[in-house]
């Protein structure tokens, strides 16, 4: 029985599923990483994803144009980010609570719009799978990595880009400075407000894309509360990844691979109760968090509103 898991069909299936499942986490968690690196915790990711997901679906459904749908998701995410930035940066609201507020807003608003504008569950033709020439022909690896849709590729391209921006550019230096010591950054002429606006809006846009990756690329349907907690897992993955894009990638993949593994365990009829199987990704995440939590330091100014003194 256990040897069934090692057949090539199953291994390819697990890895290809995992790659897809990790996609929305990557967009949302990388966006959240930028925000947290600058000292802002955004718990509204889930709400941004839901609204982005609906916007992408609705625009695509009406116009038939996937790119317009994606653009709509990015715009809606940016607007949500803008509102979040205003509330937390200008009004100095508690970040945790205002984030929850934005989550509830996104949950309710996407539901309301869905009821009023759609009324029933529909499907769209989403982004098709794109085979990358040459490499997609490699047995096994081609099926896993190079036979996915464009938003899946985008998520994996985003990781090194985010790493580069955060660690190798002046902008990244400013973001980290604002998240570690906003007073010092401010005294050196870095605009804390502007940087935080930038990271929160960027995070909103990426959350919007995360939502779109579900509604017009991976699932091609929209249903109320469709993200069902993905956005919160994305926030947890930022901690898991130690505020590093590649750490986030490892976390997202680990979680997703274990999730697709448990799907296969059930399909193959291995003697593990389904209740135990579905727990596996969560249990593993908690174990890794416990094992690593004490070793990684969070950005010092995380969740602290910045007020210029004097």
């Amino acid at each position: 029985m256990i040897t069934d898991l090692l057949s090539s069909t199953v291994l390819i299936g697990i890895l290809a599923s995992g790659i897809r499942l990790a996609t929305p986490y990557l967009y949302a968690a990388i966006g959240e990483t930028f925000g947290q690196k600058s000292g802002v915790l955004n718990l509204g990711v889930e709400g941004q994803m839901l609204l982005g997901s609906f916007a992408a679906f609705y625009v695509t459904f009406r116009t038939g144009n996937l790119w317009l749908g994606l653009l709509a998701a990015i715009l809606v995410g940016a607007l949500m980010g803008l509102a979040m930035a205003f509330v937390t940066v200008n009004l100095h609201a508690k970040q945790g609570i205002s984030g929850i507020g934005f989550y509830l807003f996104g949950l309710g608003m996407s539901d309301l719009l869905f009821q009023k504008l759609m009324g029933t569950v529909e499907t769209v033709r989403g982004f098709p799978r794109v085979s990358i020439p040459v490499v997609s022909g490699i047995p096994g690896i081609g099926d896993i990595f190079f036979n996915q849709n464009i938003l899946v590729y985008g998520a994996y391209v985003l990781v090194p880009v985010a790493w580069f921006v955060l660690n190798k550019t002046t902008l990244g230096l400013k973001i980290r400075a604002v998240g570690e010591n906003p007073d010092a950054a401010d005294s050196l002429g870095v605009s804390v407000v502007r940087i935080r606006y930038f990271t929160i809006i960027l995070g909103g846009m990426l959350s919007g894309i995360a939502g779109a990756s579900l509604s017009i690329a991976l699932l091609n349907v929209f249903q109320q509360n469709m993200t069902s907690g993905l956005g919160f897992i994305a926030v947890a993955l930022v901690y898991f990844g130690g505020w590093r894009p590649f750490g986030v990638l490892v976390g997202a993949l680990l979680f997703s691979f274990v999730n697709s593994l448990q799907l296969w365990i059930q399909v193959l009829g291995l003697p593990i109760p389904s209740d135990i199987a579905v727990m596996m990704p969560y249990v593993l995440t908690i174990l890794v968090l416990v094992a690593t939590a004490s070793k990684i330091r969070s950005p010092s100014a995380l969740t602290k509103p910045f007020e210029r003194e004097g």
Partner: protein
Amino acid sequence: MKKIMSILTVLLALSLVLSACGSPAPAPAPVAEEATQAAPETSNEAEPEPAATVETFRVAVVMPSSINDLAFSQSMYDALVLIQTEMGGTDYFDFVYSDNMFVVDDAAAAIRDYASQGYDLIIAHGSQYGSSLQEIAPDFPETSFAWGTTVETFGQPNIFAYEAASHEGGYVNGVLAASLTQSGVVGVIGPIETGDAKLYVDGFVAGVKATDPNVTVNVNYIGSFSDVALAAEAANTHIAAGADVMAGTAQMVVGAIGVAKENGVLWVGTQSNQTSLAPDIVVANQVYRWDVVVKEIMDLIAGGTLGGKSFVITLENGGEVMEYNPGFNLPADVKTLADQTIQGLIDGSITITLP
């Protein structure tokens, strides 16, 4: 220490927000019928009809997911709309609903609220609402409550219980799947291995095995009623494992139907008619007709019985109906076999052995 305090504050406030935000603003019932209410006033003066005080039967329903989830909640919503139409509009049968009540505390608040507003019947459409109902019902002895899906009435004189023999339609769907598969592999996706979902999945497996023991049935529970993404990936897993016919139950299966559609894999549905989502690949649906139960309950209430009974919808009593997709080209012999199966389940010549 300070950090811990702030986290605790956040959590506390979060729980407050979550419990407060759900306080039920009773959703307005469809307003389409409003025009009819104005009509009687224009009657001519010559012979004023005796003011026919029509007794409006008022129902409130609390549901865990949305009224258009193409599954569990929609099956109840559709039933109430049907009764309303049959009875002649909102003057005779009026209902309000609160949907997306996935937080049980919110649902409990809504149920209590509706009860104090004097509705004739309050339906708690979700087995998770049971303990709330057990607490609330004794406070409103004049109000009738109905709870599904279960058979438990807590011995309360004002609680009805209802459930579906979901394994019957599951069995028929299993027969269809086993007859239609060419790869010899079929897959079924469930939410959590309990209650209505488990019954349906077990029935499906039994139907497949009874038709062709050589067909492999792969079963997958994803651990969630709402995780559409995981349901889709479960469908991908079934397809990678060779399935060419799939089934699934609960509202998150829309994700799986989307995947089935994209891969040209056949689908048999349950709870509501899911044909509209993928007209090319949906073969048939088991549809819950809760109106059968609600009508019976209404009759009992009219006779003064407010609860204490439980109902099961079955193929036999018409509470479950198999609806074929007219757009799907079902081979005649398979259709005959399915119809014979339905008949056999109704007259008792076929019995389902559940694990």
